[in-house]
Amino acid sequence: MSDNLIDTSGLSKSYSGSPALRGLNLAVPRGSICGFLGRNGAGKTTTLKLLLGMLRPDAGQIRLFGEAMDSEASLIAARRRIGFVSEDKELYPFMNVGQTIRFTRALFPGWRRDLEEKYMELFRLPLMKAVPKLSKGMRTQLMLLLAMARGAELLMMDEPTSGLDPAMTEDILRALADLATVGQSTIFFSSHQLAEVEQICDRVCIIDQGQAVIDGDLDDLKSQYRRILLTFDGMPPSALASLTGVDHLRQRGRTASLLAHGNVDLLVDQARELGPTSVEVRPVTLKELFLDHVRGE
């Protein structure tokens, strides 16, 4: 049995006939921090809702903690082990910070006082401040604290750092790195911030039009993918597109830019035989991977 905390296969969901997910395959290994990337409307929030049991899939399988989510009971059991930080960061408006923490603490027998104290110290949240008066960053920090201190094995977050200033973002990322080190938690979060995903994640999943177009170890992806820039005397030959390992081909005048993975050396040799005047091979950044896969050419 693989040690994935999240495993989906062929996950599909439509809203009144228009498909949001079209056979999503996703794997999040235990102990990883996985960034979930995609354009607006790519299916990120739908995926999170399905994983949390807030929606039912039309087709496909979800396994959480190795268990199939095929009954109400299995969903409830899994939900107990998951902490969730929603995008809108909903909290009870009539409480202050201290009351919110005490209220939540009472609900969870496995509450970790050590983590509560640790993150109170890191975030320096004002105990007496009323929840509606908290800044967006403080609301995020409070929700994160609640999710972490209840002892969740899997933390899911919907755009945790959206709208936060860089210092606040760094605090959140530091808390996540710490949680993965000390708490050995698995973290799965959606984001639009490629820079933060590159900084903190070891796994990345890119979703486009309801399907995963990239799902893997970030450093492995960086090792596997290359950008190959070719310049020709005339128009680049059409044979380029059919070479093995070419993911995307873009042409501008006499130059062709290939995004490729796999046996790049072999590919470069084959491209050389097509008679380019210059060949350049470059590493690929996450931003390039993202843009090349979601642009929808």
């Binding site: 530091r174 993965a180 903190i200 070891d202 690929v284």
Partner: protein, 135 residues
């Protein structure tokens, strides 16, 4: 050791870490036997993924650059040079002691022995130094 990671390049992060630690070892910024920062410390200081730090250490261990001693931490591999030197000096002392004993058995004085030692040392230097300089 001053680690600096560029997250937004195409170079895998664990490779960047490996290169910088290797460089620190090669330039003696950290020496054999010295302890490296813990995974947690690096992950915290650079705000990065602990699994990635662990991967860099794993690969460095495979390359024989570091030694992971479970429970106590990660250390630069190889004999610590200072401890090495001490052992060598002790060995040389034993050789010299037996030479002194044999000299004393031939009823040489302390001053005569010292003169022989100095003479032999300078003769050795004359023989050995020139080819070294030519290198």
């Amino acid at each position: 050791m001053n680690l600096r990671i560029h997250f937004s390049t195409g170079v895998p992060i664990y490779l960047q870490l490996m290169e910088q630690i290797k460089h620190a070892v090669e330039t003696n910024a950290i020496r054999a036997g010295e302890q490296l920062p813990t995974i947690r410390k690096i992950a915290e200081e650079l705000t990065m993924n602990p699994n990635t730090v662990a991967r860099a250490y794993r690969e460095l261990e495979r390359d024989g650059i570091v030694e992971v001693r479970h429970g106590s931490g990660v250390f630069v591999a190889g004999q610590p040079s200072s401890a090495n030197k001490t052992a060598e000096i002790r060995q040389a002392g034993e050789v010299l002691r037996s030479a002194i004993e044999r000299g004393m058995a031939l009823e040489l004085s302390e001053a005569e022995l010292r003169r022989v030692f100095e003479e032999e040392l300078s003769r050795w230097q004359e023989n050995v130094t020139p080819p070294r300089r030519q290198r």
